[in-house]
Amino acid sequence: MTQQLQGSIVCLGIGITLGSHITQLAKNHITQADVVFVLVSDGIVEQWICEMNDDTRSLQPFYQEGISRAISYNNMVNAILTEVQKNKKVVGVFYGHPGVFACVPHLVIKQAKEDGYYALMEAGISAEDCLYADLNIDPGECGCTQFEASQFMLFKRKIDPSAYLILWQISIAGDTSLAKFSTGAKQRIILVELLAQTYPLDHNIIIYEAPTLPINSMRKETITLKELVNATLNQQSTLVIPPSEKMVTNKKVLRQLSEITNKNKVIHLCEIN
């Protein structure tokens, strides 16, 4: 059995809305840590975390427009692991869920475990969770597929028009440089054209934003697909496309299942007789 080193890392999510989503466990991790690294979506939220622990360090300075996010993320990982290697109790605080649309917590935990340190991820309430509650959508009702918007554009992905389609990070859709903080109408035209291969241009779609501060309201703006090109989008904006078609019954599978049921009935009747 390999000996566990003294340093540790816990990556946790504080949810989306300040004060409403944080767990007591997360708070205890933050207040008891030697060092806290924080990457959140709002300046007031960042300040709130800073006030919980005297040694709280923002990961924001690693972001710089024009510098590849791949480099920024590597630098964030290195900054966190350097403190773990000093045998400190380190906590990484991320907004939403630390493991959803966030590579840094995954990379940090993987590397720390490989190096023999205690590493753990604590779940948080994600934007996806808020979306289902705010928009009154049950993903189990007719299914739901979701992609990162640029990934959806850059790779050939399959859309099921009878299920919800959610595209995350819509404000930077089509960015291949990994160095921009937003993209514009030109990229969105291409996205709309791609979506128009499945959905009518007058299909209603929703731009959603979960509230980060308890005073804010969520954004639920219904527009047509065509209007997406000139819509106002922020970093927090998510695109939700409701189904445009009804689910189609798979008659072949239904027949196969019905044959099993009928066979079982015959077997059951034989056993009774």
Partner: protein, 96 residues
């Protein structure tokens, strides 16, 4: 009580989420939220709140990469491969 403490307190108040403005003001007063902060909160003025909290920097949200570094197609001006037919319908929006 400072701003972030006040915000945390508000975030945990179920009554405030559905309260009308006049009632919300009453609740905030009961919670000893300073008047200047109440005004910013009730008017949903995020800029005023950030000013009160002394926040100056812009925040960048976490931006996930569309794929692993080596998997992201490069914009190299080459024509698309044969298995990627050019979208003739690409003019759809530009024309309309």
């Amino acid at each position: 009580m400072n701003i972030t403490d006040s915000m945390e307190c508000i975030g945990q108040q179920p009554s405030l989420k559905k309260a009308a403005a006049s009632h919300a003001e009453k609740i905030l007063t009961q919670q000893l939220i300073p008047a200047i902060l109440q005004k910013a909160l009730l008017s949903n003025d995020k800029i005023a709140l950030e000013k009160l909290a002394g926040i100056k920097k812009d925040i960048v949200c976490f931006i996930a990469s569309p794929a692993k570094e080596g998997e992201i197609p490069k914009d190299d001006n080459k024509t698309p491969e044969e298995d990627e037919p050019l979208h003739e319908e690409a003019t759809l929006l530009r024309v309309s």
